[in-house]
Subunit: 409 residues, 2 copies
């Protein structure tokens, strides 16, 4: 009995989520095991509201290529945290749409949804398989070597820092630049922003990640000390840096709002440090928030990242064909020279609601062997350029599944 | 008698200034009229302090190619406004270095330096030629069809808006995004950020340029009105928008500092409007400042822009060979289908301290014929990708003339 499959996307956007979705569509369309490939608009919220569309019109290679080069989330997203009350309603929708496998592409919070649904379906004997496909620019999912989306964001951060550095040192005056980088709890992205320095460059002289307690007094002294011999001081700072008490730096200047998962809403540590430097040191200072550009810059996507994102989506379908459920697909790095990964799977309970920090053995960022390891870890993930499909204007085209962009997709 | 030449860079950075410098170096090195090609560090300030270097080591095609792909200003910059007291000192330096032609690459303020020096040298009969080469991402220089650097920034803004739009509309909740774009007095860059909409796309629904008085009350009403039918409202807003009295919008929240040319230092109109929307409308709102990325993103440079920047530098040398002085090189667009420009020259007094606004006949941005004209004007300037020289890490390499970047140039 051939069943249908359903894809949902959840959490924050990246440049690689749609590529993973393309992988699932491609493999599921080619599979003899499945009928229709459905997509839920706005993730699990769209399942509950039955905002479900047939993705068959997007299964041609041409459409899949467009989908791969489109950033963010072609089906929309949600940040809904499931409760037990939602389970039977979801089961009913899956029954009505004859869904055999539900693929959920998301981060640690989304894997909690996979975990809950899988347990419920197993207890109920409904037979629906639930498979998690990882994504997060933060790279903070356990088990997997890295997450789809991270490589492209790392590449954006490296290139942008490389350019900001040049922009910052043109005037012969003392100046400080503080670049604020995403990563609520983990410093993976900020390490990518520091890569130029780890590879032997002068800048950015200061790299601050959430895993290492941030000493504001020590930071200001370090900046002062550097300014004695250098005109320009550049700092790559994670949005999530915390002091020795575990409080976010500059907390008092922030909103204190929390999202539906209870995470404190962060913004502005860069601006906070800018004001501290202006007040306590008094030199020219600028803060730069790389904002959503670090997660949506498809024009600078890593081809390696997009290729792997497609492959992990395809592998998720193979796992489904083999009967897997309650798992998340993972990358295992098998070699660095040459770089090689194989795709495996892990029980989703190893991932759901858990996070992977930058390891403690990497905390001494001044250690040359640590720098070499960081470089070796990051560089392969950032390689390769996608040549996008362009329209007659010469500009890249994005796929518009939800029909909300009018004539220029 | 063969003379030497001197190049100086001035004002704010762009991705195309070094390309124009490469053009001057290439043509002057090939010319039988000139001996050594010198560069002044930090523009006219470096002339006065005699921070002058021999650029011969950078005249090979390989080094010039690296220079062309390097953003910002390889010789550093300055914002020095000349006074009459500086003229004799500069003349003495030029005499000591046997300078026959001084090429100054900059914007309207820098052209004032060209004008002053040319008049002084003519009055004194010193025989030094002074030639201006245009650059500014703002595109606000008179006479020339456009300025080198603008095309690349326009391309960055189009692509980044295209991606931000995708990133912004993933959640099924009402939200507003305000994107703040450079351009102190002119809206050329903001038009590029609005191009997606002018080409028939939904977003950004609101485009605000300095040339059109900004009605804050009307803006908030327009946002409210749009939110009745659309989930996402995206606004492209120039940093320099002013109200009907000519005051910068959100003036009260800004520093009020002025630079050495008397320009009010601008920042934060995006943040200001974000706070207004949060307070008066109460929906989710985010402001994004594209900051220095819009002027230094070499990875997204327009090949057309870089090629033209090189050509205008080369043409400046030809003009010098023909004995020109007190001029600025300009582009004249001779055709749109196919796009073609020729390079000419104008008396620098037609440019110095003057600005070119977005023309009044373009102020009705809802008019389809205006939109078509904007599209026709912008698109050719944004075409083509440069394939950068990369090192063994796979990452693009920048040229480091001043020796301040250590191992990774």
């Amino acid at each position: 009995m051939k069943k249908n499959i359903l894809i949902g996307l959840s959490g924050g956007p990246s440049t690689a989520i749609n590529a993973s979705m393309a992988g699932v569509i491609r493999a599921a369309s080619a599979s003899s095991r499945f009928n229709t490939v459905y997509g839920a608009l706005h993730g699990i919220a769209g399942v509950l509201s039955r905002d479900i569309i047939d993705l068959s019109p997007y299964s041609s290679e041409e459409k899949l290529r467009l989908l791969i080069q489109t950033p963010a989330m072609a089906l929309g997203s949600c940040r809904k945290k499931l409760t037990a009350a939602d389970w039977p309603a979801i089961e009913q929708v899956f029954h009505d749409y004859d869904i055999g496998v539900f693929f959920y592409i998301g981060g640690n919070d989304s894997m909690d949804t996979v975990l809950q649904l899988d347990r419920y379906f197993k207890e109920n004997g409904s037979g629906v398989q639930v498979i998690g496909v990882p994504k997060t620019i933060d790279n903070d999912l356990p088990v997997t070597d890295h997450t789809p989306g991270f490589g492209s964001s790392a590449k954006y951060l490296y290139h942008t820092m490389h350019e900001i550095i040049r922009d910052s040192e043109i005037y012969p005056i003392k100046n400080v630049v503080v670049v604020e980088i995403m990563g609520r709890n983990s410093g993976w992205l900020t390490l990518a922003a520091g890569l130029e320095h780890f590879m032997g460059g002068v800048y950015p002289q200061i790299v601050a990640i959430p895993e290492i307690p941030f000493d504001e007094f020590g930071f200001l002294n370090q900046v002062k000390e550097l300014l004695k011999t250098e005109h320009t001081v550049i700092c790559a700072v994670s949005e999530g840096i915390r002091n020795h008490n575990g409080d976010y730096v500059g907390m008092e200047t922030k909103s204190g709002a929390v999202d539906t998962f209870g995470h404190t809403y962060l913004s502005g540590v860069g601006k906070y440090l800018e004001l501290q430097i202006a007040e306590k040191i008094g030199c020219k200072v600028r803060s730069i928030e790389l904002n959503v550009m670090q997660r949506c810059s498809a024009h600078l996507a890593s081809k390696t990242d997009l290729d792997e994102a497609v492959q992990i989506g395809e592998a998720a379908v193979s796992a489904a064909e083999a009967g897997a459920t309650g798992i998340m697909m993972v990358f295992e790095r098998t070699s660095n020279h040459p770089y090689a990964v194989r795709i495996a799977q892990t029980d989703v309970s190893n991932v759901a609601n858990l996070a992977k920090d930058v390891p403690e053995c990497w905390h001494d960022l001044s250690d040359q062997s640590v720098r070499d390891e960081i470089k070796q870890y990051l560089l392969p993930l950032m390689q390769g350029e996608l040549e996008p499909i362009r329209d007659k204007t010469g500009l890249p085209v994005f796929l518009d599944i939800r029909g909300i962009h009018s004539t220029r997709e």
